[in-house]
Amino acid sequence: MTSIPENTGGKALGLLIDLDTCVGCHACVTACKGYNSVSAAGPLSDINPYQAEQRGTWFNRVFSYEVDDGGSGRAVHFPKNCLHCEKPDCVTVCPTGASYKRAEDGIVLINTDICIGCKLCSWACPYGAREMDEDEGVMRKCTLCVDKIYDERLSERDRQPACVTTCPTGARHFGDFKDPESKVSRLVRERGGIELMPETGYRPVSKYLPPRKRTAPDREPPREQVAAPAAANGFLRWVDRVLTR
C-alpha cells in the first residue's frame, strides 16, 4: 500500500552524517555498492563499469562543496543517500505499491518484484535518491541495509548499515530518531542537526551535523616569495636557470 502509515511503531530509523568529520574518502560509497551488490538487495547494475560512459546504480554518492564563510572558504564533503522521509511523495505516487514505507521502523523500501520501472518515484524525490537499475528495469534505493541491521548472527556493532560500519572517520551514525535518548537524537540536539530542503515538506528522518565553527585562524599568512637574485653575469644567470628548473 502506497499510503503512508499513520503510526510507525515509535521508531524512525535513519542516518546522521557529520559534515565536520567527513573527509570525502568515498569509502561509504564503495562499501554501499559492494554490500548491496551481494546482499539481499543485489546485484546492482553496472553498465560499462571499466570504460567510458559508465552507468551504474548507486545508493550513496559523495559531493564536495565549497562554502564561502567570509574567510578563505572551506571544503565540505557531503554524502547523500535516501533520507527515509516521514512524508515521502516517492511512496504515494507509486502506482503499483512497490514503493512503501515500513510501519515498524519507517524505512522506505522498493519491492522490486512488482516495480514497473515508471520512474515517477524518482521524479517525486526532491533529493535525487532513487535511481533506475537498467539491468532489471526497476527502481532502486538505499535500504538502510535492512537485511544487515536485523541480522542477529552479526555482532551488535555490525548490525548497522554498511556505510556506517565502514566509515574510517566515524562520520556516519545510525539510529532511531524518534527515541529522544538515542545517540543520533542527542547529537542532533547538541550540534544543531540540519534537515535538507525543509521547504519541500518531506520531513526527512536522516539529518546532518553542520561543520563546527573554526577556532583557529583560517590559514598561515602567505610566505614572502624569495626573490630571484639579480644575476650579474651570464654564468650566474645560467646557474639560476639550472637551479630553478
Binding site: T2, S3, G24, V29, A52, E53, R55, T57, W58, R61, V62, F63, S64, Y65, E66, V67, D68, D69, G70, G73, A75, V76, F78, K80, D89, V91, V93, C94, P95, T96, G97, A98, I114, C115, I116, G117, C118, K119, L120, S122, W123, C125, P126, Y127, G128, E131, M132, D133, E136, G137, V138, E195, L196, M197, P198, E199, T200, G201, P210, P211
Partner: protein, 306 residues
C-alpha cells in the same frame, strides 16, 4: 526533465483522444449521434484508437512493461494509478456508445453512454495533468496553469478532429467551428501565461537549503560525485538553451494555434484535416518543451539551478 518520446506521444495522443471522446459524449447526449450513427461510431472509434495508442506508447516508458497492470492498484494515493483506472474505465462507455451507434440501440442508450463517456474522458485528462501538477520537486509543474493547460489542449485537438469528421459527414452546424476556435484561443492564452510564469518565477530552493550549509555562507560545487553522468543527471538534469526554447515556442504557437485558426476559417474537409496535423505537431512540440523546460530540485546538488 528528460523529454521521453513515449511520454510525449502518450500525453498528446491520449489528450486528443479524450478531447474527441468528451465532445462525442456531449454530441451523443444532444442526440446528434442518434440521427447520424455512422458519424458517432467513427468519432468514438478514432477517440478510442488515440487513447489506446497513447496508453500503449506510455508502456514503452516502463522498465517492466509486462507488469503494467499492477499500476491499477494504488488509486487511493497515486495519480498515475488513477489515470490508468479511469482511462481503462473510459473504454466501457466508449464501447457501449460505439455498439449503440453500430447496432442502433436507441437514443436512450446513446445519450446515457455519452454522458458517462464525457465525464470519464475529462477525468482521464485531469488525472494525466495531476501526475505532473502534483510533483513538488518540479517548480514549473506546481503552477496552477498545468491542469487547465492539459484540459484545454485536449479539448482543442479533440475539437479539430471532430470538426474534420463533422465536415466529412456533411454536418454544417457552425458550432463545430465555434468550439474549435474558442478552444484554440483558450489554449493559446493558457500556454502564453504558463510560459510567462516559468520565465519569471524564482527558484524556491537553492544549494544553501539543499545542503543546509547556507547558514554559513554561499555554497558552490567543488566536485561532483561521479565523473560520468548518472541516472539523476540524465533523467532530471535535461537542459535546453533558452534561445532554443524561444524558437520552439514560436514553432508551437504557429503550428498548434495560428495555422489551425486559419485552416478552420478556410472551410472544407482537407483544410480541417491539415489543421489536425498542424495542431498535433504543435502540441508535440509544446509537450516536449513542457518536459525540457521543467527543472528538478535534485540537480541543485550538482551545482545547477533547480
Amino acid at each position: 526533465m528528460h523529454p521521453a518520446l513515449s511520454v510525449i506521444v502518450f500525453t498528446t495522443a491520449s489528450g486528443a483522444g479524450c478531447g474527441l471522446l468528451l465532445l462525442s459524449g456531449l454530441l451523443a447526449m444532444a442526440g446528434v449521434f442518434a440521427d447520424d450513427p455512422t458519424f458517432g461510431a467513427v468519432a468514438v472509434a478514432i477517440g478510442v484508437a488515440l487513447l489506446g495508442g497513447g496508453l500503449m506508447s506510455s508502456a514503452a516508458h516502463l522498465g517492466r512493461p509486462e507488469r503494467m497492470f499492477r499500476a491499477l492498484t494504488q488509486w487511493r494515493s497515486s495519480w498515475l494509478s488513477r489515470e490508468g483506472v479511469v482511462a481503462l474505465a473510459t473504454f466501457v462507455p466508449a464501447g457501449v456508445l460505439f455498439l449503440a451507434c453500430v447496432f442502433g440501440w436507441g437514443p436512450g442508450v446513446v445519450a446515457i453512454s455519452g454522458a458517462v463517456l464525457a465525464v470519464l474522458a475529462a477525468a482521464t485528462t485531469l488525472c494525466t495533468a495531476m501526475i505532473y501538477a502534483s510533483l513538488k520537486p518540479i517548480r514549473q509543474w506546481r503552477s496552477r496553469l498545468v491542469l487547465p493547460g492539459y484540459l484545454i489542449l485536449a479539448l482543442m485537438t479533440g475539437s479539430l478532429l471532430l470538426l474534420t469528421l463533422a465536415r466529412a459527414f456533411g454536418h454544417r452546424s457552425p458550432g463545430y467551428e465555434a468550439v474549435a476556435l474558442a478552444a484554440i484561443v483558450g489554449a493559446l492564452v493558457v500556454k502564453l501565461l504558463y510560459w510567462k510564469h516559468i520565465d519569471t518565477a524564482a527558484p524556491t530552493t537553492d544549494l544553501g537549503t539543499a545542503t543546509g550549509l547556507g547558514q554559513f555562507g554561499r555554497v558552490r560545487l567543488l566536485d561532483p560525485p561521479h565523473t560520468e553522468e548518472n541516472f539523476v543527471m540524465r533523467e532530471m538534469g535535461y537542459q535546453i538553451a533558452r534561445r532554443h526554447a524561444y524558437k520552439l515556442r514560436q514553432i508551437a504557437v504557429v503550428t498548434a494555434f495560428a495555422a489551425p485558426v486559419l485552416l478552420t476559417l478556410v472551410g472544407g474537409v482537407v483544410p480541417a484535416a491539415l489543421a489536425v496535423i498542424a495542431a498535433g505537431f504543435g502540441v508535440l512540440v509544446e509537450r516536449w518543451l513542457f518536459f525540457a523546460e521543467a527543472t528538478h530540485t535534485s540537480v541543485i546538488y550538482y551545482g545547477r539551478p533547480g
